[in-house]
Symmetry: C2
Subunit: 203 residues, 2 copies
Amino acid sequence: MAKAKIKADISTEEKIKEAARKVFTQKGYAATRTRDIAEEAGINLALLNYYFRSKEKLFEIIILEKMQILFGKIGPTIMNEGTSIEEKVELVAEHYIDTLVSNPDIPLFVLGEIKNNPDKFAKLIKTKTNITNSALFRQLAERRPDIDPLHFIFNMLGLVIFPFIGKPLIQLITGLEQQKAAALMNERKRLIKTWFVAMLEAP
Amino acid sequence: MAKAKIKADISTEEKIKEAARKVFTQKGYAATRTRDIAEEAGINLALLNYYFRSKEKLFEIIILEKMQILFGKIGPTIMNEGTSIEEKVELVAEHYIDTLVSNPDIPLFVLGEIKNNPDKFAKLIKTKTNITNSALFRQLAERRPDIDPLHFIFNMLGLVIFPFIGKPLIQLITGLEQQKAAALMNERKRLIKTWFVAMLEAP
DNA sequence: AAATTTTTTAATCAAATGATTAATACACGA
DNA sequence: TCGTGTATTAATCATTTGATTAAAAAATTT
């Protein structure tokens, strides 16, 4: 009954996690076979259970990581009372586009798994950052009392995140090459701020 | 070797398709068990294969339907040389938000499956509507020669579609109720047009 | 009504899949 | 170097899952 790992072999454990990151985010939980992960990691299948007990447990570790990447910085940014709407949007756009260019699979992966299993992540997210109480939310309500601030939250996230979700489709129908896609995403960092301000000031 | 269905029993075949629509769009291809579909349809598992040969074949029928719903009307709309940018955006927003309010699972489902298997849908979509040659694309290039029209395509689709993809998340962190969500989506039909024009005119 | 075709069911198969086990290899302090 | 705990492997298990089969039931035709 060997189960404790008092002395962790960083190398093997990390190899498995790295493989799991790749396969899980690429294919999602349901389509991922533990054998795929083992093969990708170049290890014996049994080692996966030796180090992580189960597919489920390993998955939770990975998706929490990815959720942290996807939502980790947005909380502090929108909570900051000392920055303007414009600054917040600029920070969010720049940070997330940089992040997502290196991790383009994350949004579809995370949002998909949240939708498949909302209860699982309910407590985890809910407590962390309540958007409704954020400085950004209040600032938006003050600037445009006639429009529900949630609209602008959707707009901001949509402008930043959607291109990464829609990219496979757009690549299919326009033949958009990977390089030009990356260039477009970088342009958006600057444009989104301008667009967002324009939407704020729209009649 | 009973395999031909010369006289189709609409009722049973349609029951299976209806169940397949529900389960596939809710959970995706990989997470769907043919037994789930059979149970949802209230039929014997073997009937699924009797009518549709395989899970794969049934899936293709369903996702083609859903892609038709998601993309079917956008082609003619953006190809129309006789309407302005504003009119096109308004038509797209109104049509898709109405459609997606009744079918909120479609975007994540379709975009997810496209990403999982781009080759499968390559020919199917590519030929259908080449956005790059659309009237909208040309109009956008004329109106804002300084900005890649693809940005505005992303913006339009993001404003319309993203709220439906991000809804599970937003519901989690704001407790947004289903009813208010629907009301928000309806508001967007009118707002998106204004926002889009504002973005077009942004400095 | 008899014969034929179509639809439905229960039972079963074969492959895939998550997980476990028992044995072996390895590391390292006593 | 021996012994003990750790890491790794090959083999195997139990379940799930997509699919098939053979028989029964229902519908349709003759």
